[in-house]
């Protein structure tokens, strides 16, 4: 049966090529649409679980740099104190703000113009600190630069630039201003490199928190903090914690509840632009697949009748159709990925949203399942209406 399915792909090659082309278009559309959809929720999805608990977003109003770990002792039922550490550094007259991103902060991958995003597991590259930098025309991916830590601490370390964030792309910013009502969006910022004055062009450099701890050794700032409490904390304890934080010169900017609900509203407002097109794409994909499979099945009715006369069951004929569709769909997927790669090469990564990740593969798998189901059920539905004699009679 598998062999017959294979053979079907190579007989009537013109029709099958058209079908492969169509599958490639549909897979391409599926990947494209999913990427656009997923990018809308990617600002919040890595942090949605975190913000679903009880907690506060704080701003450190203290004049001196201090270690936020002390908050574990000062507050009741503290589950987690999260913050992004940062410090200043220089290299060849260029100022940098170096951020230490932990696993959670690395959850959002900004749009990179070149290279790849940091991995928590690979803080170093041949003894040099792996780093992703914000857009600048003075550095390039693959450069190794000698960094000098600013301020009293001093010291030097070498950085290997493994990725560069696209100009005006969103990135997590622990110093950014709060914008009421925008939920998680307020913790991201975007700058236009060419819009900034030459003197203001400070480059942001992101390294892993492990590399940050190794190089900066407790010499850091952390202006925005996220304190999460255990689930069994009472309202009174929360209120007490809030008062303690205020007395410790921390401004309680937001509660996790508020961030969570505002983020969902914000994400929904973004999705509304995409949902109708996503639904439209889905319907068009379904219609198009059904149309092509229907025609292919009608064309192969005589062939299936021959198989039937030779002793094959109808459902086995449908399995042959399924195998054929599977091969064509997989070929279409490969073509779609290649076409996507070519498109990204031509337009650049920052122009359009096209990625192959878990969600995209899942969508393609669902699409494949749909194609398989349709290519099994449609021929079965058509064949059942006729006997082989009727099919031959109609043919002649």
């Amino acid at each position: 049966m598998v062999w017959l399915g294979f053979r079907n792909c190579f007989t009537n090659i013109h029709r099958n090529l058209l079908q492969v082309f169509q599958m490639a278009l549909l897979m391409f559309l599926g990947i494209f649409m999913t990427t656009t959809f997923v990018r809308q929720i990617s600002l919040f999805s890595p942090y949605s679980d975190y913000f679903d608990g009880n907690g506060f977003v704080l701003f450190d109003c203290g004049l001196d740099a201090r270690n936020p770990e002390n908050l574990y002792d000062k507050l009741e039922k503290t589950d987690d104190v999260n913050y992004i550490r940062y410090s200043g550094a220089e290299s060849g007259g260029q100022s940098f703000i170096v951020y230490g991103f932990d696993k959670m902060a690395l959850g959002y991958k900004p749009t990179l113009i070149k290279g790849k995003w940091l991995s928590e597991k690979r803080p170093y590259h041949s003894g040099r600190v792996n780093a992703v930098v914000s857009y600048t025309d003075k550095l390039d991916v693959g450069d190794d630069i000698e960094m000098e830590i600013s301020g009293e601490k001093g010291g030097k370390f070498t950085v290997h630039i493994c990725g560069m964030i696209a100009n005006t792309a969103l990135m997590l910013n622990p110093n950014g201003q709060e914008n009421e009502g925008k939920g998680i969006r307020q913790y991201y910022s975007h700058d236009d490199y060419y819009f900034m004055d030459e003197s203001m062009r400070t480059v942001s450099m992101i390294i892993t928190d492990k590399a940050f701890a190794d190089q900066f050794d407790g010499y850091f700032y952390s202006t925005r903090l996220y304190v999460r409490f255990k689930d069994d904390i009472s309202t009174e304890e929360l209120e007490e914690n809030k008062n303690r934080l205020i007395s410790e010169e921390y401004a309680v900017i937001n509660s996790f509840d508020k961030v969570s609900s505002e983020s969902r509203q914000y994400i929904f407002s973004k999705l509304v632009d995409v949902i109708p097109i996503a639904l439209g794409s889905l319907i068009l994909i379904c219609i198009s697949v059904a149309g092509v499979v229907l025609i292919d099945s009608k064309k192969r009715l005589t062939q299936y009748s021959v198989y039937y006369i030779c002793g094959m069951k109808w459902y086995k004929c449908c399995i042959i159709s399924m195998i054929q569709s599977f091969i064509l769909a997989v070929t279409g997927f490969v073509l779609a990925v290649v076409a996507g790669g070519i498109m990204l090469r031509i337009t650049g990564r920052e122009k359009v949203m096209f990625e192959i990740g878990g969600s995209q593969i899942l969508v393609c798998l669902l699409l494949l399942v749909y194609i398989l189901v349709v290519s099994f059920l449609l021929p079965l539905h058509i064949i059942r209406k006729y006997t082989p004699v009727e099919i031959f009679k109609e043919k002649t």
Partner: protein, 384 residues
Amino acid sequence: MLQMIIRNFLNLIKRQYVIVIILVLSQFMAVSIILFAYGTYTANSVNLEAAQGEESKIILDFVDSDENTASELNMINATFASVMSDYDSMIQYIFPFVNPGKEEMKKLNEEYGIYSLENAFSVLGGMFTVDKDAEYKRKQCGGDWYSDEDLRKGNLLCCAGNTVKAEKGQKITLFGRQYTVVAKGIGDAWDPAAVNIPFSAIPGNLHMQAITIKFNRKIVKSEYDEIAGKLVDYFGEENVELTPKRVVELEIKQTFRSLIYISVLMGIISAFTVFVLYRFVLEERMHMTAVYEICGCTRFRAALIFLSEMLGILVVNTLLAYLLYMNVIRKKLEQMIPWFRMHYLEDNSRKLVMIYFVIIVVTILATLMVSLKKTPREILKEEC
């Protein structure tokens, strides 16, 4: 020939109704998505925040220079009104922001409890009018507001917010002039600590900091550039600067660019589906075509019969999809989502649908060329 077209068409519906349904649906989806993506894109092309419910506006800042102080306010005159009259249906209001200075403001605050000055106006047919919210404000203060005539003549009148320490009929001193209070806000009506004066009644020696032009709908990039260009020409390039355009995050640009690409892709898929389905229909009619040709019908005539039949379906379908989307679906979407006020340039929408339609026609022609290659002899030989 017409009889043949009708007979073919009826046969198609009778025998291949599933294919006709798929054709119609795929075309409908493609037209809808192309229009939706276009609407989303244009609505967000200038003021990307507009999609979140904020209105579009242009802000023009005056360069802070001692030399041109006192000259800008006098430029808000009849010539300015005629320049802006081209856009009067779009303009919600024009707000010249006049700063009386810290001292004057402090005095107004202490004496009358005034914290801000309002002087918005609008333009209609080259004439100044009170801003379009005036009717609403009138109701909120019990019926009075200064008139268009007062605005044009620069009569010294004002409307005071609820907490302003001045009653209706009383005179208050602003910029060293006596203004009569003609209306008094009730409760939280408009800004309770503001005083609203006709802008023409503001002394011309005061420095104007900025002009905000608020539109009653989202404007597209071409409109933005046109209006901004006229404003800059009018006030002089050296005297004004447009508030730097917001640095739009890359992800938003990527999203809208992707949506446009997706809609194009859907158009291609739809055309491709038409190609595959119609090719099948023509293949099914091969025998009939061969018979036509044997009976003396030329191939061109046969192609014309099939083309007319298919065009009939596609023209009606595209037109219906366009009308249905623009008049029903779009309106429903606007009702369902309050901020969903897409701005469509009707001309461009039609052009897009026309482009899609031309692609479909080209596809059909290509299908005909591919399918009608064989001679009647070849067709009949194949069948045997």
